[in-house]
Symmetry: D3
C-alpha cells in the first residue's frame, strides 16, 4: 500500500514554467522559540528560454563546502536567458541553514541532507528540504549536478564523479557527463551504502547525475573555483542548454576498488602527515603518524597504506579522533 503523502510545506516564489531570469525563494515554515511564525528561506534561481532540457545545479548539500556555492551564486547572477535553450534551476545552498552556519549538517536538527533522502513532508527541516527535492525539483530535471568538497574535516584531490549503475545506458550518460565536466581527476564510484543519498534519489529517477569533490578544508581557492565554474559551463554545453563545445582538458581517472582504500584512526592524537594529496604510495608506506597528546617522549602510531595508489583524500584538522577517516588511497586508471 502506498500512502498518499501530504503536500510539501515548502512554497516557491519562482514560476518554474516562466521564461526569463527569476531570483526567488523556497519558503519553508519553521516555528521556533525565536520566531513563532518564522521560515527558512532558501535562495533559488531559474533561467529559462523555450524548450530544451533542464539542468538542476546544486551546492551546499553539505554546508561547509564552498566551490559549488561560489560557482552557482556567480552563475545565477550572470547567466542570461538568451544564453539558454531549455532551463537551468540553481539552488546554490541546498541545506541553507547549514550553509549559513558554515557546518556540514543543519544547526536546526543536525541533519545531514545527503543522508536524508527521500525525506518527509512532516519530518525535520532537513527532511522537508529533501522531500521537496525528491518530489518537486528532481522530477523537473534531466541533468543533475551536485557540488561537494571535503568540508572542514576532509581534503580531496579535485575530481568529478559518477556511480556504477545497474542501467548501463544511464551509467554511460553519467560518465560522459563526468568527462565533459573535465576536472583534473575523475572518479568511478561504487557506493557501498547509498541509503539516503541525493545521488541515489536522482539516479533512481533515471537522471544523469554528476557529483564532485573539489578539495576541502572548509575553504576554496581561485583554482578550485575555476574548476567548478568551467565544469558547470561544460556540463550545460554538453547537455545542449548552452551553446558551444565544452572546454575540456586532461583528466586522470581514479578508482576505489575496495574498503581497503579507507583508513581509520584507532587513536586520538596529533597528526603528522608523511605524504600529501596526489603523492604516490605503495602498500606498507607510512601515510601519517599519530602522536599522543598527553606528554612528550611517546611513540607515535603509524598509519600505513593498504594498497598501491595515490593519496586521494585525507583528514584535514591537525588533531584526529579515534574513528576518523585518516586517509583514502585511490588507484589510478589511464582509461575509463
Amino acid at each position: 500500500m502506498t500512502p498518499v503523502q501530504r503536500p510539501s510545506p515548502i512554497t516557491a516564489s519562482v514560476d518554474f514554467e516562466a521564461d526569463g531570469v527569476q531570483h526567488g525563494f523556497l519558503r519553508l515554515p519553521y516555528s521556533r522559540d525565536d520566531s513563532a511564525w518564522g521560515s527558512v528561506m532558501i535562495p533559488i534561481a531559474v533561467i529559462k528560454r523555450g524548450n530544451g532540457p533542464t539542468a538542476l545545479l546544486t551546492g551546499g548539500n553539505h554546508g561547509d563546502e564552498y566551490e559549488g556555492p561560489v560557482a552557482l551564486f556567480d552563475l545565477a547572477r550572470t547567466l542570461r536567458a538568451d544564453q539558454v535553450q531549455g532551463r537551468v534551476i540553481i539552488v546554490p545552498a541546498m541545506n541553507y541553514p547549514a550553509f549559513r552556519a558554515g557546518t556540514r549538517t543543519s544547526p536546526i536538527d543536525r541533519g545531514n541532507l545527503n543522508r536524508s533522502f527521500p525525506g518527509r513532508p512532516d519530518g525535520t527541516v532537513t527532511e522537508k528540504i529533501a522531500d521537496y527535492f525528491q518530489r518537486t525539483l528532481l522530477p523537473l530535471a534531466d541533468l543533475v549536478l551536485d557540488f561537494h568538497s571535503g568540508g572542514r574535516t576532509l581534503d580531496f584531490l579535485p575530481y568529478a564523479a559518477a556511480h556504477e549503475l545497474p542501467d548501463k545506458a544511464q551509467e554511460k550518460r553519467c560518465f560522459d557527463a563526468v568527462a565533459a565536466f573535465s576536472a583534473p581527476y575523475s572518479m568511478k564510484m561504487i557506493e557501498i551504502d547509498a541509503v539516503g543519498m541525493y545521488d541515489t534519489a536522482a539516479e533512481d529517477l533515471g537522471k544523469v547525475f554528476v557529483t564532485t569533490e573539489l578539495s576541502g578544508g572548509g575553504t576554496s581557492t581561485a583554482k578550485t573555483v575555476g574548476i567548478a565554474k568551467r565544469g558547470t559551463m561544460n556540463l550545460l554545453k554538453h547537455a545542449g542548454i548552452v551553446a558551444g563545445a565544452p572546454e575540456t582538458g586532461p583528466t586522470r581517472w581514479l578508482d576505489m576498488p575496495s574498503g581497503d582504500c579507507f583508513g581509520f584512526a584507532e587513536d586520538d592524537g596529533l597528526v603528522e602527515p608523511c605524504i600529501d594529496l596526489g603523492d604516490r604510495v605503495r602498500a606498507g608506506d607510512v601515510i601519517a603518524r599519530i602522536h599522543p597528546l598527553g606528554r612528550t617522549g611517546q611513540t607515535p602510531t603509524e598509519h600505513r597504506a593498504a594498497l598501491d595508489g595515490v593519496l586521494a583524500a585525507r583528514h584535514f584538522p591537525g588533531l584526529v579522533k579515534t574513528g576518523d577517516c585518516l586517509a583514502v588511497v585511490a588507484t589510478v586508471e589511464d582509461t575509463i
Copy 2:
C-alpha cells in the same frame, strides 16, 4: 616602586640543570567545577649535555597551528642528549588547553596567549602560563623559536620572520637566525602593536627570537612539517647546539611596508577568491569577491589590492564576516 611579585603557581617536574633527556610536565593548579583540585599539565622536554647555549622551542602558542607541535613532539622524542652541546627546552604546546581544544585561544578563559605577556601569577590560566615563560623559561634561553601558522581562519605563504629592533646588533642576530632557518619565504616585520606578545617579551630580554608562519587552515601537510623540522635543526646547528651546518636553500624575502598591506572585509558573505597565495598582484587588481548570502542575483562586492606585491596571507574559511582580515599583500625584496 616595583612590587614584589608572588611566585608562579606552576611547578615543573623536570630539572632544568640536569644532563640527559627528561620528559615531564609544567603543573598549573586549576580548581574548577569538574575538578576541585585539578591542574593543567603542560608537557615539557629538556635535552641537555654539558655547557652551551640554550634554545627554547615552542609551538601551540595559538592552539590551532600545527607545524610547530608536530615538529616539536617529534624532536622531543628523537633528539638524543649526545647530539646536543648545551640545552634544548621544548614546549610543543604552550597554550596547552587551547591546543587540546584545537582553538586559537584557551577554552578556559578565552585567553590569546600571544597577547597575554608579561602575564600575572594570580591572573587567568593563560596569564599564569605567560608569567611562567616570562619569569622562568625565557631567562634560561639564548635562542627562542616560536612556531606559528595561520590557524583555522588564516592561510600564509610559509615564512620565518624576525622584527626590526632598536638594538641593531640584536636585530642582525635575529635575521641571521631567520636566514639559517631557511624557509621558502622570509619576512622582515615592523610590529605596529607589539603589546602583550611573546615576541616582544623575548626581544626585550635581549634574546635571539625567530618566529614563523607556515601556511594555516588548522591543518598541516608533509611539506610544511618538513619546513618546520628542517628549520628547527638548522637553527640548532646555527646556534652550535647541534653539530653540523644548516641545510639551507633559497628563500624569498617579503616586506609589509604599510597598513595598506592589510585588507578587511566590510560585508558579510561568501568569499570568491580570485587569486591564490603567492600570486603576483598589481594595485587595483581584484583579490576576492564577497557574495551576499541572502538571495541570488545580487552584485558581489570586490576587494582590490592597494599596492603591488604577492598575496601573502588570506582569510581561510569560505564565509567571511565584516571586519575579518580578507587578504594581505606583501612586497618582495631580493636582498635583505
Copy 3:
C-alpha cells in the same frame, strides 16, 4: 489495521470522578542525565460537583504566552466546588517544561506542542503530553478553551476565535462560545495547515473549541489578564457550569480571507514599525521598514499591505530575520 496503542506513561494524582476541589499533578517519567529516575510534573486542578458538562481549560500550550496561565492559576485557586455544576479541569501550563523555561517550545525536545497532536505514548516528552490530552483529557470534555497569545516574537490584537468546520452545527456552537467569551475582537479562522494542532484534535472529537490570541511579546498586562479572566467565566456561564449570564461587551469580528494577509520579511534587519496594531491600512501602505544592520546610509526595504484592513498581528522583536512573519492584516466584519 489499527494498532493497539501502548498506555500513556503519564499518571494523574487527581481523581477525575471525585467531587470537590483537587490540586495535583500529571506525572510523566523522564529519565535524563541529571535525574535517572526523574519526572515532569504538570500541575492540574479538578473542580467538580455533581453532574453537568465538563470544561477543559488550558494555558501554556506555548510556554511564553501568559494570559492563560495567569487566569487559570488564579481560577484554580479561587473557584469553589459549590460554584460549579459539572466539572472544570484546569491545566494552566500544558507544555510545562516550556512554561518553566519561558519558551514557545519544550527545552527538552524543542517540541511545539500545538503541532504534536495526536502525539505518541512512546515518543518525545512533548508527544507524550499530546497523547495524554488526545486519549485521556479531551474525551472527558464537552467544552475546550485553549489560551494563546503571540509569545515572545509576535503581538496580536486581543481576540477569541474558532474555526470554520465541516459540521455547521458544531461550528455554530463554537462561534456562540466565542461570542460568549466576548473579547474586544473575535476571529473566524480558516486553518490552512491544521496538522498536529490541539484545535483540530478537539474539533475532530466533536468538542466545542475556543482559542484566543491576547496580545503577546512574552508578557501580560492587567488589561489582557482581565480579558482572559472575564472570558473564562463567561464561557463557564455560557456552558451552564457556573451560574449566571456572561458579562459581554462589544466585539469586532475580524477575518483573514487569504494568504495575502500574511507578510514575511525577505531581509534581515532592524524593524521600523510605521503603523501600530489596530491601525487601519489600505493596500500599498507601508507597514514597516527594514533597515540593514551593517552600516549607515543604506536604503531600508519597505513592507507594504497587500489588502485593506487593520494591522492584526506583527513581529515583536526589534530585529527581524528573513522568513519571519512581519505583519498580518485582517479584514473587519461588522457581523458574523
Copy 4:
C-alpha cells in the same frame, strides 16, 4: 601620578573635521577563535557643515533597546549636510556586538557598556568601546543624546530625562534640552549609583546630556519611534544645528524621590499584573501578584506600592525571578 595611557586600538574610517555626509566604521581589532585577525566594525555617520556646535547622538548603548537605533539609522540616512550648521555625529548602535545579538550586554564579554566607563584601551571589547567614547568622541561634543528603553526585561512610560547636577548652570542646560526633546513624560533623576555610566562620563566633561526611556520589551512601535525621531530633531533645533523651532507638546514631569520607588521580587513565579503603566496608585495598592509555578492552589504573594504615584516602569517578562525589579512607582510633578 597620572599614567600615560596607551592609544585606543579603534580607528575611524571617517574624518571628523570634513564637511559633508560620511558613512563609515569604527574598527576595533578583535582576535578570536573564528577570526584570528578579526575586527568589530561599528557603523558611524558624520554630517557636518561649517562651524557650529557638535551633537553626539547614540543608540544601542544597551543592545536590546530599539527606538534609538531606528531613529538614528533613519536620521543618518536622511539628514543632508545643507540642513546642518555644525556637526552631527551618529552612532546608532554603540555596543554593536550587543545590538547584533539583540541583547543588553555584549555577547563577547557580557559587558554592560553603560557600566564600563571610562573604559580601558587594553581591556575587554566593551571597555575599549567605552574608552573610545570617553577619550575621542565625547570631547568632540557639545550636546550628547543617548537613547534608552527598557529592553527585553523592563517596560517604561516614555520619557526623556536628565540628572540633578552639582553645576546648576549645566543642570539647567540639560533640563532645557529635556524640555526641548518634548517626550510625553520627562524625568528628573538623582542617580544613586552613577559609577561607570556614560551619563556621568558626559556630564563630568561638562556636556549637555539628555537620555531617554521610551517603553521597552525589546521592541518598538510606530508611536515610540515617532517620539524618538521628533525628539532628536527637536534637540538639534534647540542646539541651533538644524534650523527652526522644536515641535514641542505637553509633557508630564515625573520624580523618583527615594529608594521606595523601586520594588523587587522576593519570590520566583508567574506575574499577574494588577495595574498597567501610567495607572495611578496609592501606597498599599496591589501592583502585581506572583503565583508559585510548581502547583495549583497556592496563594500568590502580593506586591504593593510603597508610595502614591503612577506606575512608571515594570518587569516585562511573564515570569519573574527573585531579585528582579518588579515595579517602579514615580511621583508626578506639574512643573519642574
Copy 5:
C-alpha cells in the same frame, strides 16, 4: 508482514569464532560536523577456547555507572584463553559515547540505551548500538550479565537482580545465576514498564540474564569494584566457562512489591536525608526533608515511608527537583 531489515552499519574488527584473546572495536560510522567520515569506536574483547557456552558481559549501558567498566576492562586485560572453556564476549562500555562523556545518556543523541531496544539500523547512534546487540551479540550468548549502578543521581544498596518471568524454568536459571553472583543483596524484580530495555531483549530471546545495582553517585569504591569482579568470576564459574566453584557469601533478598516503594519529590529544594541506605524504616517514618532554597525560616516538606522495609535507593545529589525519585523502600525477604 515482517519487513526485511537493513544490515547493521556496525562492523566488528574481532572474529567471534576465533579461539584466543582478541581486543578490537565495533566501528559505527557517524558523520558529523567535526568529522565528515567519522566513526564511534566501541572497544570489545573476545576470549574464546573450544566449545562451550558464551557469556556476554557488559558495562556502561548507562555511561555514568562504573563498577561494570572497571571490572570488565580489568577482566578483558587479564583473562587468558586457557582459563576459558567456551567464549566470553566483553563490551565494557556499551553506550561508549555516554561512557566517554561520563553521562547516563549519549551526548550525541541523548539516547538512553536501556530504553532503546530493539533499536534500528537506520536510527540514531544509540539505536544503532541497540540494534547491533539485539541482532548480532545477544543471539551469540547463553548468559548475559549487564552491570548497572545508580549513576550520578541515584545510590543503591549493592545487589544483583533478575526479573520474574513467564517462563518459570528460565526464571529459575536467572535467579540461580543471581545467587551465584553473590552480591551482598539480591533482588527479585517485577518490571512494570519493560519497554525498550536490554533486559527484556535478552530475556525474550530466552537468555539467562543477570543485572546489578552496585551503589552509585557516579563513582566506584574498592569495595563495590570487588563485588563486581568476584560476581563476574562467580557467574563464569557457575556457567562452566571458567573452572572452579563460585566464591559465594551471604546475601539478603529484597523485594519491591508495589509502586508504593517509590517516592517522588513534589518540591524543588535542598535534601536533608534523615536515614541512610540499608537503614530500617517503618511506614510513616520521615526518610528525608526538602528545604526551600529561596530564604531561611521556611518549613521543609517531609517525605515519609509508605511501607515497612529498608532504604534501598535514594536520590544522590544535594538538591532535588520536583518529580525526582527521592527514595525507594524495599522489603526484606529471608529466602527466595
Copy 6:
C-alpha cells in the same frame, strides 16, 4: 597609600543590631540580559539576644557541598532567640548563585569564592560577595565556622580543621574550637597557598576560625548531616552563645606533613580504586589504577602512596583527567 574604597553595592534587609529572629536577604544588584535591573538575593538569618559573642556560620562557600547548607537552613529555622546569649549570623549559602546551580563556582562568573578574598566592591559578583564578608560580616564576628565538603569531585574523611597560625594564642583558640566541634576526625592544616581564602581573611582579622571537610561527592547523608548539626551546636555552646556543654566524642587527629600527601593523575582514564577512605596504606601501596579508555587489553597505570598513613581524600568521579588530584594520604596522630 590606602585608597578609599567604594561602599559595597550589597544591602541587607536584616538589622544586625536588633534582638530577635530575622530572616532576610543580602541584595546584590546584578544587571544582565535576562533582568536589566535584577539582583542576587542571598538568604541570611540573624538570631540575637542581648550582649555576647557573635558567631558567623556559613555554608555554600562552594556551591556543591551540602552538609553546611542543610545544617544551617535547619538551624536558622529552629534556633530561638531565647536560646541565645549574643548573636548568631547564618548565611547557609555564601556563594548563592553557585549553590542554586549545584556547582563549585559561580555560574555567573565562574568565581571560586574561597579564592576571591578580600574581594572588590566593583568586581565580579563573586568578588562583591567576598568584599561584603570581608568588610561587613567578618568584623561583626568573634567565631567563624565555614562548612566544606569535597563537592562533586572529591570525597573526604569527615573532619573539622584549623590552621597553624603565627599567633599561637589565636591558634590555640582555633584548635580548642575544633576539638569542641568534635567531628570523627580533626585536622591540623598548614596552608601552602592561602591567597584569596576566606579562612585567611578571617584569621588575619584575629577571629577564631573553624572549617570542615565532611565527605563529598555532591551529596550528604544522615550521618554527615548529623556531624554538622551536632558540631555547630557544640561550637555555639563552646562559645557560650548557647547554654550547655558540647556533646563531644572521640576524634582522630590527622596531619598532612608535606606535599607528598597529594597525588595527581598523569593520565586520563577510568579509575579503579584499590583502597577506600580511612584504609591504612604504606608507602608504595597501590591506591588506584587508571585504565586507558580507548580500547581493551591495555595496561593501567598504578598510583602508589608516597608515605604511610590513611587515605584521607580521593577523586570522586569514575573518570579522571590528567592533573586531577587522585588521592590524599594523611598521617595519623594520637594527640594534638
